[in-house]
Symmetry: D3
Subunit: 319 residues, 6 copies
């Protein structure tokens, strides 16, 4: 038995936010959370009882310990985190807003400890002693070091028979579509399970057709056996071992959008670990709904709670 | 003139809650309120200017004084509260939630001071120097002592010509339908005014037909002159002195559901005190709406405010 | 070039509020904001980069400095504010509520420092070194001194070619319709740009017909070249240089209604400063929507943000 | 048996404060308490289990209900409070400070509902159905109406054999020493138990000698059988039925000075009710110490707690 | 190498507190922490980088997960925690106070999940795969089940050569000195490292002489090679392998006394793990000082921080 | 008359802090303040009524506007602030601590908008239309650009007869003593008023003798007519126009040390503006004491408050 069920490599950032109706311009207090796409996936899976590990690079001192503490609290192991003396912790400011304003995110992540990561600093043993390795496109965007570390992780995982899961997660504030397409081309060949938002498929690869067509085109770019196209409120369309599957979204009150996509990936991986990616689509929808109705990036839930949401949802339909 | 207009006997508990979007699992602060079905009814009536008294059994010391202080603040007299040295105060945790989660309540009331109550510890004088005595099924569920105290209270009240009001208030986490039916059978013969939720009629007595039929069947179980069947958003249907009356619910934003049913009972009793139970149905709907839009179990309102809501609502219809 | 683009004369008050679901009766903490119709207009304009000044009369000491500090923070100059030793700062309590309750305002402004203002205490130089002077009907209601100061300000401004803008802003808790009509009759002859809520036109002047008819009747009372009739969710109808213009409202989540009307006036004046009152109507609708979705009376925004809302709105239509 | 043990007549005000280190100039939130010298005395006595009533005049509506609620919560009956429609509630702002700044109080009590009180509005029955009536010099300072009400109360109480207790409590922000001396001269003849701070004796009556001499001079002004001179950290010196008694202060951490003098009066009255004014001096010192170490004007304590402090203190010494 | 360096068995409770100056009687919010003597020791050691595990019995559901989450956040492994459906989590209320009041603790731990623990429910494998096992007298006081589990743990550990550490930790609210002495007599024979407060030695065993004499008498009761007598501000006196060692306390500002004794035990064990119990005494004093100056039971610190305090302290003196 | 009395050039940072007793490792909320040595000086002077301007370089968007708003609120003009698109705002984390821990500061200011400042970006007109220009050594440490801007500012000011004030303010986390000495050597020739902490004189220049000797040695390095050596609790020793002056510190409760040195400089400059540097020393001591007893970097005070502290202090003594 492998030590972990899912491992991931990625950055975590301090999230500093004001509530809806307040402005950053007049802030006197900030709510503190921790966020990071790959850590979010691990935390959601750990809430379900999965054995997960997350690797990263953090500043030495109280802020690095803040991150480790939060990861452990969520039940995520942190066996190979490397520490950088004198480095900074990336942060992002969030102004949660009500219409006509949209919630605004201001990144302050340049020059963080994580951007100093490289393949040489990765502790491969814990990272690859797993059934699945989860990566996101964000890491590829954070500089040559993180990109090379992620690429090498994917290559090694593929070679060892570890499932490589990638959530494309394009962020326009971090890189251009051209850069994204170029670096992704180096990693996609190793990917076994690809998650891509419909809007990202259009932006990065220019794929703007019907979901079924987009899935086919993505498969040309990435030989993954399973590809999931997420379509926001319209749910997801997936190509699972060649078969087309539609999955509706679960209804939710939206208190905090950040992390909902990561919760979806967690549900998908949870299904995969049980050998049932169709169940994974429904679990992803359920976890995503739970994430929307909860404050903070790291999902706090339980298998019972997820199942209760899944059971209330209309079942996935295979056309 | 009797000293009080309405008295009640029941437990009060500390309510510890986190706001919507927060989880008990990650709590760092808890909002503190006081709650208890019978006290809630008294507090709502006192807000309208009614003379009310509430009897209970509380731990000696700061926590017992916390309860007394809150009852007095609400304008409720506490003439015969007995104190138990070394006893605990029951509590319940609330995780207010947004869909797809439902608000969750965790009871921590076992072994509370109130469960040590018995008929012998009740101060009958203030309890029965009243026009109406209000009880709920919850007290019957809390053990042999509280049950016997409530039964004796109902018996004595009936004998002295005091109106006996009972809100059935079935709580599945406290007892089984069978136990409930058995103990209720000992108390219902003394009841003059019965309030029962439609769902409880089904669960406890297996009465699942049309409201009119359920009212008839309840009347077979309980010879009360007035019986009110509450139907959540569908309002209430009542059998008042043999006549069938329908009352719509009042619209409200739902911030805190807890205590809304007790507010309904308070409105009903307020109408009864004025000799107008039909007005009572409308007042109950209005107080219930006010309770839903307010944080905390104990309703804070005024007669002016209640009347303003009543006047905006469509009037009750007699078919 | 004039020193300021817009100046205003008016009172500012401490706003003390409890959040929705809480009651003033049980308050343990109050949120503190600053509010005042004329200051609100200046603050919104300053957020857009306009040079504004606000004149008032304030108590000496920490509370007066609190007001000056908040005005400056908002970017509003306070060149001629007069200070009154031993005077009080007006305040108002707000209980933000959810249905079936309406948000309630309790004024506590009697005897404030501002009511001691008189024409003799006004520093005319900064007030009139401007392109536009903004007044509201509230100042006329606050006593003989403030009324005479506002009337004299309007008279002098008119004489010097400064645009006189007046938001009628009738407050029934401050004066009767008869008093309002009487004092307004002394000021309206000097007004160049009049804003009036449809409900106020009915209450104060008995004008209850179709908007177009009301605009005509208002023009008979006030020879202003531009008159805007605001119709709440139905937007606004204006008579601009003799032409009739309709402007829709912008959609918004309502977190805090207070100050939304002042934000509208600010947008209107911003358009006037650019020589485009039609644009002003759209900007007013946008700022009003932004104000509704934000806590506090003083709007915090930017020209970019306003423009983003304007562009999403359907354009104004001239019939 | 009289209905109450102690009654009092006085004003209550909203207390709005910022914590040490914060400034009113930059406040964003205010802590809310209720305060009023006479109410404070009643609340402390009620904490000890005494039957107390407090009469006042309050604004109708939520703010008046806030006061009544707080008084009842403290266990103080409010049988004859009169309500004034449209009146305001007095308030005071407190900036708790650390050295080199002193805590600053800003009164905002002019024109409050209480200043509209007059002898004609007082409900004499509950006020005089008591063993002792407590008054303070503050009420005499609040205008002709309150002064006449307090004088009439003292006169009637004296006539009915009710003990008249007066805490001189000079406040220089309310009146001049000359006015104080003049109005006090009308009330002192009715006083049975006088409490006066040494600094006030000097300011109002020009009595600046040794405590024993001051006590003698006070006795010339006021024929009370018992007179207590409080000397801050130096404790108190009293002339009890002609005998001189010294009482040390109790040590305390000072978190909130406001209300400590009223706590002293409460302890004194508690001793008097037990027929032991010497014990009252010690209890006063203990309650005063408890008040200093607690936030808020209204003391929350219990007889057990008071006794525990008394027992640790050195006993009073008769020289 | 053993899996853990230190393991412990004990209860954890929810700690609900109000800050200094506030009273439980008037609470509106409670600060939430987690506490438990044995968990506190593990958390402090984990902060220093030690591998620790804590075993307990917890309620299923959010409150149990709250505890697990907090333990993991502190870096403490929870391999064999057993869950009890429907059980309650013990709690305690703390009213932090300033003189003349003392901080008051109200236990509400009766009937908690942990009291249902028995030797049969303990997972011995992780508990004994360690260099040292830490127990406290509290567990012995919590009922027959916890007592038998602790005794069996001590017996097995002794048999396997695992160091048995016991902090006597007498709590008079939990049991009588007689009961304590009786149950301790069953466990002390297995103890290798005993920590006992001087006041407890007097209360439980009647040992009231000079520290050196007490240490000798304790050695007669318990054949531990190392015995430490803690003397509050006077530091500690220890008998280490027959030799007498004195260790001063470290100076600290006292913000929160709870957990300071556990921090001392942690420092002692940290020294023992390094084979240097004298260093352990100094580290215990340092951690204790750090705990006093920090809110919460679970110490948050680092080895660097502890060393900085140790170095500033006068070194331990051997007489 | 010059437009400003004092101008300054420097960086401002977001200050994010937890209160004493809390740890950054477990933070859930951060208190937000704004800080920056030069801005602090201007804010304190503006509180006294002085006309001040502060120039800086800030990120565009909400965080830059947050800074401008705070500066304006403090009464400081911001005429020539340049904005950098996409740049970050420097920040620092503060863990206020109680002994045995010291308050810890973690800088996160690398790569801030201000580090992109250069002489070419400075708007010289407002900066030099002043009587005094204030600089600190911190700006010299922040990179070649800020250093060159500060040097050029000093050169130009000197040339135009503007007083050049420099607070040496050595920060070891920003640069080495050698670098500091080297860059200071380029600026000190322009300085007219030098403030230097005794510890910094030792660290940077190796000057460790008696204050008088250090002052002499500093004068050799810097031909300023007035040099002040600050000695923490021992007050300050100054060489004013060749004469030696000693000034004691003012006593204060220490709530927040940050900014106290800047408050001292402000008092000194306030004295200089009045032509009385001896008064300035006393005012500096008073403002410093006020700053220690207040939360936040930017001092909130008034001339009356400062004078009250000055008057209570023993006067400065000339030996």
């Amino acid at each position: 038995m492998s030590r972990f069920e899912v491992t991931a490599l990625g950055e975590a950032m301090l999230r500093l936010s004001v509530p809806p109706g307040e402005r950053l311009e007049t802030m006197t207090r900030l709510d503190v959370h921790l966020g990071g796409a790959e850590l979010n996936v691990c935390a959601a899976l750990a809430s379900l009882g999965r054995r997960c590990a997350w690797l990263s690079r953090l500043p030495e001192g109280p802020l690095g310990r803040f991150v480790l503490r939060a990861a452990r609290a969520a039940g995520v192991a942190t066996p190979g985190v490397s520490l950088a003396a004198g480095a900074r912790l990336g942060a992002y400011y969030v102004e949660f807003a009500a219409p006509p304003r949209a919630t605004e995110v201001i990144y302050d992540r340049a020059g963080s400890a994580f951007t100093g990561l490289s393949a040489a600093l990765v502790d491969w043993e814990p990272l690859l002693d797993t059934r699945a390795l989860h990566l996101t496109g964000i890491t590829l965007a954070l500089g040559e070091g993180p990109f090379s570390a992620a690429r090498e992780a994917a290559r090694r995982a593929k070679a060892q028979g570890v499932l490589v899961s990638l959530d494309l997660n394009y962020r326009r504030k971090l890189w251009s579509p051209q850069e994204a397409a170029r670096r992704l081309a180096d990693v996609l060949p190793f990917v076994d399970l690809l998650v891509c938002a419909r809007a990202d498929a259009r932006t990065v690869f220019g794929l703007g057709d019907a979901p079924e067509t987009v899935l086919g085109a993505l498969h040309d770019l990435c030989p993954a056996e399973n590809i999931v196209l997420t379509c926001a409120q319209d749910g997801a369309v997936a190509r699972l071992a060649g078969e087309l599957v539609h999955a509706p979204a679960s209804a939710a009150a939206v208190l905090d959008r950040i992390g909902a996509g990561d919760a979806f990936s967690a549900g998908l991986l949870d299904g995969w670990l049980d050998g049932d990616l169709r169940a994974g689509l429904a679990r992803g929808a359920a976890l995503s709904a739970l994430a929307l109705a909860q404050r903070g990036d790291l999902l706090v839930t339980s298998r019972e709670e997820m199942n209760a949401v899944v059971e209330r949802s209309p079942s996935t339909v295979n056309r």
